[in-house]
Amino acid sequence: MFFKRKPAEQTRPPEAKTHVVYAEVPSHDFKRALAHFGVRHGMWVLTDHGVGIVRDVDIPNTSLVVALAHPDGTTNVDVVVPVASVKQATYEQIPVSRRENLSREAARSMGYL
């Protein structure tokens, strides 16, 4: 008596994914808006939500996109806040891991009192 053997299931390797990235350079509008708002890209600021980093500008709404920082220096939440509601962070407010190679003197020269 013969039994028909079930064909072996073919397992295909997972399909490889490709992530394409083009460097994004600051536009004229971006730089102009930052200057107009009196802030710098990458500047540490204090918001009503906590300390974060200026990441982008929302020009029509005169708002800033700020990446809120955790105490360990990582970031994973962006908030959009009015320009008038933020101020430059102090040296002490910058997470330690993000200022450990920055002297107080150098920080002061950048406005971090």
């Binding site: 994914k17 350079v25 730089k31 980093i53």
Partner: protein, 134 residues
């Protein structure tokens, strides 16, 4: 997201521009912690990816970059390809890249991009580095 030149790199650029300190070739690295680049950063602010077939890329001033005069003027490198063999052994996700001087290790610039988690053999990140000056 827009690339950021930290303050430490601004000084390097000025020194090279005014012939105080010669420039250096570069090393292009991927970072694997969720960090938004800040003006106070140094290379130590970033945790480089490791494992899964990852290796940093060497770029040379003499041959890796194409310089174009314009408004703005720019320097663009050819597309760099990372092909992974599997998951990273640090944090599993890549959040961006940073460029450092090859010898001194001083940061030049950094950029966060849409995160990507290599998991399978053959997964790739293709990155075209570019910087402008206006």
């Amino acid at each position: 997201m827009t690339l950021l030149v930290p303050n430490a790199a601004e000084v390097l650029a000025l020194k090279a521009f005014l012939n105080n300190t010669a420039g250096q070739d570069q090393t292009l690295k991927l970072f694997a912690t969720n960090v938004t680049p800040a003006e106070t950063d140094t290379a130590a602010s970033y945790t480089e990816a490791a494992g899964g077939g990852y290796a940093s890329k060497s770029l040379t001033g003499a041959s890796s970059w194409t310089f174009t005069s314009g408004a703005p003027s720019d320097a663009t490198a050819s597309q760099q390809t990372w092909t992974f063999t599997g998951a990273l052994t640090t944090n599993p996700t890549v959040y961006g890249y940073f460029l450092v001087q090859a010898s001194s290790g001083t940061i030049l610039w950094a950029e966060a991009f849409t995160s990507f988690t290599p998991a399978n053999n053959g997964d790739q990140i293709l990155l075209t580095p570019k910087i402008t000056c206006d």
